[in-house]
């Protein structure tokens, strides 16, 4: 198995898994994952496969859905403090980690309308850690200032908030978020990227450390787990993804 055979999705899953396991972040015992997030799901299954206890609740799973109180249970769990980590994306994400799932142009999205904010306006506040994830890394998505705020990246003192973004993972790099100064810093570069290429593709300003390492390559063990037990766990909830990334279709 050569590094050339590593698919971008595998690399992203491994990068996210390492963020999940970041010993400096609050502990992650329970992660909830939306229906449209196969790469974060693969990352969390990888964390489990690596032997770390992590409860992974997949929302909107048609069979073996972990919830029995309907779709409000996810938000109630977050309210109770029983969800440690959540993933959010955004049609736009800005340098203060504001996310926009509403649309561009004037409200309610007269230029381009996105589907809507889903539960982001609660989850981003009540989850101790949020990992922002968006594969497309372009000035169109990573903007200086989102046109509309579904959920703010930071909140003023006095506003009840349990956590913020931990990081932003894109198809080009990993940014770490610093809530104190409400700015991202470049944490690592995916293969083929440079500080300059990332800067050119990013609409917002961000901090650049003196040395920016490459995003660590998946290890042989991680790849074997991804292509073994993780793929098996992904097959039922994310059949399209497995067919595309793992060349594997469900028997059903």
């Amino acid at each position: 198995m050569s590094a050339a055979a590593i698919r971008p999705e595998e690399r992203l899953a491994v990068a996210i898994a390492r963020l999940v396991l970041d010993p400096e972040a609050p502990p992650a015992r329970h992660v909830a994952i939306g229906a449209a997030s196969p790469i974060p799901a693969a990352a969390c299954f990888l964390v489990r496969a690596l032997g770390h206890p992590l409860r992974v609740s997949l929302q909107q799973r048609r069979t073996a859905n972990p919830f029995s109180e309907g779709s409000r249970e996810l938000f109630d769990l977050a309210g109770q403090g029983r969800i440690d980590l959540f993933f959010l994306g955004g049609g736009q994400i800005d340098g203060q980690a504001n996310i926009n799932l509403i649309g561009t142009g004037e409200w309610p999205g007269r230029e381009a309308r996105f589907p809507g904010s889903f539960g982001s306006a609660l989850m981003y506040f009540l989850t101790p850690r949020t990992i922002l994830f968006r594969e497309e890394h372009s000035p169109r998505v990573l903007v200086p200032r989102v046109d509309l705020v579904s959920a703010p990246g930071v909140s003023p003192p006095g506003v009840y908030r349990r956590g913020t973004a931990q990081a932003l993972v894109t198809g080009r790099c990993v940014f770490r978020f610093h809530p104190g100064r409400a700015r991202f810093s470049l944490l690592s570069l995916h293969p083929g990227e440079t500080v300059e290429s990332v800067r050119a593709a990013t609409g917002f300003d961000f901090d650049i450390p003196a040395h920016v390492p490459p995003t660590p390559e998946p290890t042989e063990q991680e790849l074997a787990l991804l292509r073994g037990p993780v793929r098996e766990a992904m097959l039922e909830p994310y059949p399209e993804f497995c067919a595309r990334v793992f060349d594997r279709k469900s028997a059903a």
């Binding site: 859905n65 409000r72 409200w107 007269r110 904010s117 609660l122 579904s150 009840y160």
Partner: protein, 277 residues
């Protein structure tokens, strides 16, 4: 409770009604949505519980809808909801953007008969900024000296909750299983109109195994039998979503003309053959 026909049920939804609809993964009555298109409903105000999908896009495309309150409209793997997106850009739809737990909360307030309930989050979002009907107030239980602003959401009582249940019994009790947000919508609404796969004998509330998934006839105004009535969405473990059909819808509905073609083929002709496949 004697089941009525789909068309009779569609006739019970007056133009302009505030109608609560579940998303594609949670027992939508696609059959009744199609019947509402056939009846030419107008001015409906749709409430997503907490998001909307195929049924809403169909109703919007057919000109049945004046207003939408929801946390999202999406066709899931098939992508954005094309008629919704087009209507928003055209400015022909009044929109109230929300966030999922806010809709659950507003319905729970109506379910409990209290005028409002608080919710965390939201402060600093453009969702809140665009909702003059929502308030921010200091948490009265905050420690002295702390301001602790919190959002207060008014109770929201839909005129009608519409959904598709796996079964009804002779009393009019219906079974929705673990989709309890649908039960909350039915409790909160003035009345519930329910399509079902089938009617079973006896009383579902008398069976301790089934009772936890039941919505009592107390809340149910009428039941209509619509086999595969969620199609092209799925129904619990009874049938899977028809992803190919939703993708076909998404493709056709990208244009007004394609949407009309879709309706002619699958909606106006009545129950489509594919639905029984």
């Amino acid at each position: 409770m004697t089941p009525i026909t789909l068309e009779a049920m569609a006739a019970q939804v007056p133009d302009g009604a505030l109608v609560a609809l579940p998303p594609d993964y949670s027992l939508p009555s696609s059959a009744l949505a199609r019947a509402l298109v056939r009846r030419g409903a107008r001015g409906l105000r749709l409430l997503g519980v907490p998001i909307l999908g195929y049924s809403a896009d169909l109703l919007i495309g057919a000109g049945c809808v004046a207003e939408v309150e929801t946390s999202a409209v999406t066709l899931g793997e098939a992508g954005f909801a094309p008629r919704f997106t087009a209507a928003v850009r055209a400015g022909t739809l009044r929109l109230r953007d929300a966030t999922c737990p806010a809709i659950h909360t507003m319905l729970q307030a109506a379910e409990k008969g209290v005028p409002f309930m608080p919710l965390r989050g939201l402060i600093g979002s453009d969702i809140l900024a665009r909702r003059p009907d929502w308030k921010v107030a200091p948490n009265p239980f905050a420690p002295p000296g702390a301001e602790d602003p919190i959002v207060l959401l008014p109770a929201l009582q839909p005129d009608i909750a519409i959904f598709h249940a796996a079964m009804a019994d002779a009393e009019g009790n219906v079974w929705v299983g673990r989709r309890r947000e649908i039960a909350t919508a039915a409790h909160a609404a003035r009345r519930a109109l329910v399509t079902v796969e089938r009617v079973v004998a006896g009383n579902l509330l008398a069976d301790e195994r089934l009772a936890p998934g039941v919505i009592s006839a107390l809340y149910v105004e009428a039941v209509a039998v619509a086999e595969r009535g969620a199609w092209p969405c799925g129904l619990l473990d009874a049938y899977a979503p028809d992803g190919a059909h939703v993708a076909e819808y998404a493709r056709l509905a990208r244009t007004e003309e394609g949407f009309r073609e879709y309706c002619a083929r699958y909606v106006l002709a009545g129950a489509p053959a594919a639905a029984a496949a």
